[in-house]
Symmetry: D2
Subunit: 266 residues, 4 copies
């Protein structure tokens, strides 16, 4: 088709190819979700509908982008780990970032009424995202551990905070003051002595967040339904900080770097 | 709040601050919209519902991100020009790109039923995006001219193509063969002699695309309703290649570079 | 020639093309020159031999890289401004940076004995460098003004400091304490009342630094000798902060951006 | 010290921190060395003086930049591998690149007369450079294998080429035509049958290039003299493609990634 004389402006586009053989992680975060959750009456400290919707959107992203090898979500954020050898969009960062954030957002909006059947969506929710590269299995695992540790820290805090407010009759301000400087043990103690709650008995969904991974001909409960076996995404609420999970699933971060030159030979 | 020992993984995040005093352009494109428009029965060569929805989503983005000084859309793409002095997200590219693409997508999905009341959304639509920097008014105008020239080229082609198919009884393949190698004059001639259509009388919405800009206390028709005057976004279908538009609206790309040092003085 | 199976490692090289139509500035700074100047007995506060050698090296760089439109040097640093339309090394940042730093360094070492005939070079001197992009004439001028203002600030300080030490009999520490918190007026006053020196009568070489530019068929004194007229580099010690210099030399930062699309047309 | 109002121009400097935990490789290449070697009468196919000078300059770079764990050189190029955990210049790419290229160049010029005592340097030689990141031991080894394979390929070609020209009486053009399309076996055959040369008996310096590494309390021949043991740089001409070298020197690319989180803990 005809080209215009203005086409030279394409020269201003910058190459943004991600370094090969590093695992790209796309982390998506809710934008202004404090207000969004207030406006839409999210339950505190955790809203199963919102978590379900986040997981639904993430599962859709994972089904569409086959090179996602594992995803981890908690609260209003989700991290997608792409295979270190992915050639998705020729590893162009902007393409990967924008497409994944866009699809996640669209699915969140599209599936809203399935999870909030009695709460109409009052305005369009949105998410931001970023891409981070991790060059080794060890540091990638540390990344995921960081997010799961963050889930634990925030959830313990929020659980005590909202118990003090909702059942203890404190104002949010009073609850905040009371918790200031307490460590994990102190918070557990308040929960147990004042509200009879053993934190470790709470749902793993809240304490551990959600891990999405591909089924390997497995007969475990699948997040999707009606899919071909290879498309099945498993949803787990397990610890991914300790080695057990990774020993059980060595295929996720498989690392066949040793034979690169041979593979690149023809 | 407590921090985990894993927090060092944040060091792998890369700084991506956009060069100051260049105009950032965020261009958003529909992902797989050929299939999406087929599945949802878009009218050819132009679907007023789809164009209306694109403009609605873009208007929402512009109302939210106040530093967008002008936006231009056609077909399934939209370009947003940020002020060259914007400090949005401290000019971090990933933040700007992901937030704008996400909000655009969410609005497109959220407002779907207003524009397609009888066509349920069958799956979640998505868009990709990129950020390009333009260092001068002249080259930024050439960028916008490039997109509007592209609108014209594509629309002329599509108008003849679909006339040949819908009214001329040609198969898509036959229409493609017939158009191969024709120039603009040839296409105009087919339209006029065979279908009695004068291309220049077709709607400017199709031939020129849509320009969104902020009203300056204007009483022109506004895209939004119920907004404060300062929030009013104007929607125009004018030529932005020639100088007339820019002479009439010098405030859009105002360039006060001369006094930088003085301004930065305290 | 034969290729090895290892060649795939080239894929890890990153594209680093500089944004078009911005002026690239390469600034080179002496590495560890405090020690270097001590070891080689540089005169304080200014050493004409060192400044002459810096200017010689910079002139050589400018003769080799024809796209340098102006250079500015002071102390142990030099800034080279490339034409905004330069296509040197296809605008690849690493190539431009490394080649210019390398040639500057090599010339500094190569010509050492011409400027320090009685001081053998005791070890290999080196420089670091960086590339900065400036998108407009105004901010590029502000960059050069920044360096020249820096020259003035440092030179005034050093002139008083060394007068206090060399003629006033103060220790370096005492001189530093005495100068702490003084403004420009205070320093001028010390120079005049205590040492009978009128700062404004000192050599412009020290107070203004050195500007290198290309002669335009000029018969002014040239830095080079035996060159073709077009190769002649002029060395000036003028103010480049005020407008006068730039009005006298409009060709240096000529900016023909207005006709880009036409130029890119064929 | 006083600051000028122009200081805002520093905001245009871009952050260029190298991704952590990847091995940065700085490769330096002679600029225009075809002409440089002609002008200075380099012996063909290999000039021991030039190779000695290259190795001298590289050894100096390695002594100065302690985080270089291994360097490899051949012809007019040298690659320096920095430790994957290096914090040199806070991993800023421009600083690392410019400082290493500059010092290498300066040493090459500074030590010229030691290696070319009867050949005065006619003009200032220079080098370009680039930084490449390698995220794993395997691909880093493949990088070094690529360079050593390149050394072999080029040296075999040059050895036959110059034999044909210098002893065989062919013009350079005739030699080129004769060699076109020959494989390694064919070139070895020409060398042996026509010139009685067994390629594998030629000096390993020519066939393998030079590896520089740090001595570990070793009593091997050292490239430096008078240095502290820890400063001793070993110069070897060994094969680094096969595993033997790396098994003998596991400390070079040691990789203690497994305990990152623990190490980053306080």
């Amino acid at each position: 088709m005809a080209k215009s004389s203005f086409e030279y402006v394409k020269l201003f586009e910058r190459s943004d190819v991600l370094l090969p053989q590093c695992w790209p992680v796309v982390r998506i975060d809710g934008r202004g979700f404090h207000r969004f959750s207030d406006v839409h009456g999210f339950r505190k400290p955790n809203d199963d509908r919102s978590l379900g919707l986040m997981n639904k959107a993430a599962t859709s992203v994972m089904k569409d982008f086959k090179d996602v090898v594992i995803a981890y979500g908690q609260s209003d954020e989700y991290s997608f780990v792409l295979d270190k050898k992915t050639n998705l969009y020729n590893r162009r960062e902007s393409k990967i970032l924008s497409n994944m954030v866009s699809l996640f957002t669209s699915c969140f909006t599209f599936h809203w009424s399935e999870f909030f059947p009695t709460t109409p969506l009052k305005y369009a929710p949105s998410f931001d995202g970023r891409v981070i590269l991790y060059p080794s299995k060890e540091v990638l695992r540390d990344y995921l551990s960081w997010r799961q540790a963050d889930c634990h820290i925030n959830n313990l805090y929020n659980t005590v905070f909202w118990a003090l407010v909702q059942e203890g009759g404190l104002t949010p301000n009073e609850a905040q003051v009371k918790l200031k400087g307490t460590n994990a043990g102190g918070k557990n103690e308040i929960l147990f002595s004042q509200f009879g709650v053993n934190y470790n008995n709470l749902s793993q969904l809240y304490r551990k967040g959600t891990v999405l991974m591909k089924a390997l001909g497995s007969n475990l409960c699948a997040a999707g339904d009606g899919d071909k076996p290879s498309d099945t995404i498993l949803s787990l609420n397990e610890d991914i900080i300790r080695d057990d999970f990774w020993k059980a699933h060595p295929e996720i971060l498989r690392d066949e770097g040793e034979n690169l030159a041979k593979k690149n030979q023809q």
